[in-house]
């Protein structure tokens, strides 16, 4: 059973000797509750900090609404109600109908607090307690389709298994993919597509999101992107009836994301899709992911992919669909998106190296938002499909960049890859991921500087195609236990709590 989350306001008059606090402390030490404290005096913060299962905020670092959002109940232990800050919190608590127990009730009956805690309805943990309602799945633009694809995977699993009504809000130009799969989707202009500063852009983002929230009335916003925009988290910070979840993969480069510990505190839940290359991850997300003040929490789920091994076409079906000779050899080049100049140059080199393998039928994966034409490489057959992973098993080798999604889809398909890590993505250590996948036996890594030697790797990969190792959570995992489904369940738990709160108003 989940522990109830109790709020505590510790202002000037607060004393550790207060009977109400001592009763609360007893429950805290017994592990029966999680406490979220709001302090004014720094001395209070240092004294209270020693308690386990307790998170503390100073009044200038959190709004009243935000402080109250995860609470199941509020304990008023002393004369705090006389102070302006406490009055603001109490008024907000009354507006949102948070159960409150006062000093007098605890003084009259020493068991009152325990009974109060037992009577509280708690939302998190166990089965999803109620309908999670509408959830906004929002993504940044990103270099490729990674953020959007993960959100689609989670949103679709959420609708299928947990009754989430997904609506997508994306900064990716590939919004058409979402609508083509039958989901409502709106588009937001990403910062690099305006000629303005980040601050100016964030101001407008908050305005636009406010209108979007009013229309869709979501219980929770789930954001997938490397940087949580301040326009988003500051807006949600003012709302007690909307949850915020951050889906954030690892493998960040050194020096990136130094502020994430601060921004992640605005989230109810921090979700990390695990990376098979995690052993090579030394980025900031690894160091900071456990720094969530309870009851806010960090959860890691298995790799999130839009298509699992059980729904991919098998080799025969995929080859039949693409018209590939069942006994011949075939290769797919799927380098995704990114800098057009680099991409064209890379495809050029790879395409030319395939001249040494005239018997191999070569395909070129064309992303839905590609700004280049596949006609420039007449020796390659264009393959436009989403998700491309559905056809991976048709190929003996897939030459790909080292982005999270394609790498994990390839591993799930058990098709050997030749990874060409690209340094285009500032928030992704593709080189380390590619090296680790190669070390684990999923494929081969060819660095950009060694691209001239790729024909060697192609020859080796074609010769040893059957040696790819299975991924740890393998095909035996049922569809409801995939990374996407588990992420969706955790999101549904958060959303359900806020949906209940909205319904009570």
């Amino acid at each position: 059973m989940p522990k109830p989350v109790i709020g505590l306001i510790a202002l000037h008059e607060f004393s550790l000797e207060d009977p109400g606090f001592q009763a609360l402390e007893a429950l805290l030490l017994a592990g029966a509750v999680t406490v979220r404290g709001l302090v004014l005096r720094r001395g209070n913060k240092s004294a209270l900090r020693e308690q386990p299962n307790m998170s503390l905020f100073e009044v200038d670092e959190i709004s009243a609404e935000r402080f109250l959002r995860p609470l199941d109940g509020l304990v008023v232990t002393d004369k705090t109600t006389l102070q302006a800050t406490a009055s603001a919190v109490l008024n907000a608590a009354l507006r949102r109908k948070t159960p409150i127990i006062g000093r007098q009730a605890m003084a009259d009956d020493p068991a009152a607090l325990e009974m109060f805690v037992k009577s509280l309805p708690t939302g998190l943990g166990g089965d999803v307690p109620g309908p999670p309602g509408t959830v906004l799945f929002m993504t940044s633009n990103g270099t490729g389709l990674g953020h959007l694809t993960r959100q689609l995977a989670i949103g679709e699993a959420g609708e299928r298994y947990h009754g989430i009504c997904p609506v997508f809000i994306t900064m990716s130009k590939a919004y058409g993919l979402v609508r083509a799969r039958g989901w409502p989707c709106e588009y937001l202009v990403a910062r690099p597509h305006s000629a303005n500063s980040l601050e100016e852009w964030n101001t407008h983002l908050a305005d636009e999101l406010r209108g979007i929230l009013r229309y869709h009335r979501p219980s929770t916003v789930v954001y997938d992107g490397n940087i949580l925009p301040s326009g988003l988290f500051k807006l949600i910070n003012q709302r007690h009836d909307v949850g915020l979840v951050w889906v954030r993969r690892g493998m960040w480069p050194a020096g990136a994301g130094l502020n994430i510990a601060k921004t992640q505190r605005y989230c109810d839940l921090l979700l990390e899709p695990s990376d098979l290359a995690e052993a090579a991850d030394t980025g900031v997300t690894m160091q900071r992911r456990d720094e969530m003040p309870p009851p806010q929490r960090f959860e890691q789920v298995p790799p999130v992919t839009i298509i699992g091994p059980e729904t991919m076409l098998d080799r025969r079906e995929a080859r039949e669909a693409l018209g590939i000779d069942p006994d011949g050899q075939s290769i797919l080049i799927s380098l995704g998106q990114g800098s057009e100049h680099d991409l064209i140059q890379t495809i050029d080199v790879v395409s030319k190296s395939l001249d040494k393998f005239p018997e191999v039928k070569a395909y070129l994966g064309v992303p839905p938002t590609a700004a280049w034409s596949p006609n420039y490489w007449p020796n390659l057959t264009a393959l436009e499909h989403f998700p491309l992973a559905q056809y991976f098993r048709a190929f003996d080798t897939v030459i790909t960049a080292a982005g999270y999604n394609t790498m994990h889809e390839l591993a799930a398909a058990r098709v050997p890859g030749i990874y060409i890590p690209r340094d285009i993505a500032k928030g992704d250590r593709q080189e380390q991921r590619a090296a680790e996948f190669a070390r684990l036996g999923f494929g081969r890594c060819v660095l950009m500087k060694d691209l001239g030697d790729i024909s060697e790797a192609i020859g080796e990969s074609l010769a040893a195609q059957s040696k790819a190792a299975p991924i740890p959570n393998g095909p035996s995992v049922g569809p409801a236990e995939t990374g996407a489904a588990r992420a969706a369940r955790l999101i549904a738990l958060v959303a359900s709590k806020y949906a209940t709160r909205q319904g009570a108003q």
Binding site: E200, H204, Q345, A371
Partner: protein
């Protein structure tokens, strides 16, 4: 490596040549209308008619709305006149937004050096304009109005051209749910308000409409 560079250069030359060919075709069709268009104002409408950019659609037309005459707020007020909101909660989505400074759309690759921070911001809208050749419109605007900074509004998933030519666009779907192409009254109100908000967000001074509708809402 030299060979690769040469091939890449050839590819880019080919892309540039394709654009030049399109513009040459446009120029031939422009004739006198192009000269008139450079004088600005309503001549632009005639220009685009001469260009035959709108082919096939029976209701398709090009119009120009001077946003200083019809402000974005007025558009919404007119649109909402006579429509009663379902509840107080639904009265406003974007109307109380108070953007401090408008954002600025990208200059576009074609006229990058000619577009300044003082350039006129023009909303180029493709509402109900499925058959418009976007490449031709983008290039025609670049040729005839090199100093405007366009922000494109579309309802289509086809947006690659805007990326290719370095322009900013907004997407306003005509209906909420792709599985149900009938827009509800609530969605109509929402998207109309959003359109007006976006005009303010980008500081639009003039609106050029291509297509069958001058609003993002119409019955399919």
């Amino acid at each position: 490596m030299i060979d690769r560079e040469k091939r890449r250069t050839e590819q880019f030359k080919r892309i540039a040549q394709e654009d030049k060919n399109t513009i040459e075709k446009l120029r031939r069709r422009l004739r006198q209308a192009e000269l008139a268009a450079e004088q600005g104002g309503l001549a632009l409408e005639q220009t685009f008619r001469e260009l035959k950019l709108l082919q096939g659609g029976s209701g398709a037309h090009a119009t120009i709305t001077n946003a200083t005459a019809i402000t974005p707020r007025r558009i919404v007020q007119n649109r909402l006149a006579g429509e009663k909101p379902d509840s107080r909660r639904e009265q406003r989505y974007f109307l109380d937004a108070k953007p401090a400074q408008p954002l600025t759309p990208l200059r576009g690759h074609w006229n990058m050096s000619r577009v300044s921070e003082f350039s006129k911001i023009v909303a180029v809208c493709f509402f109900g304009a499925e058959e418009v050749n976007l490449t031709e419109v983008i290039l025609a605007i670049a040729v005839t109005h090199p100093s405007v900074r366009p922000i494109f509004f579309l309802q289509s998933e086809n947006n690659q051209d805007f990326g290719t030519y370095g322009h900013t666009f907004e997407y306003l779907p005509a209906f909420y749910d792709p599985r149900n192409t009938k827009a509800s009254a609530r969605w109509r109100r929402y998207i109309t308000e959003k359109y007006s908000y976006l005009l303010v967000k980008w500081g639009v001074e003039e609106i050029w409409h291509f297509g069958a509708s001058d609003t993002p809402i119409f019955d399919l």
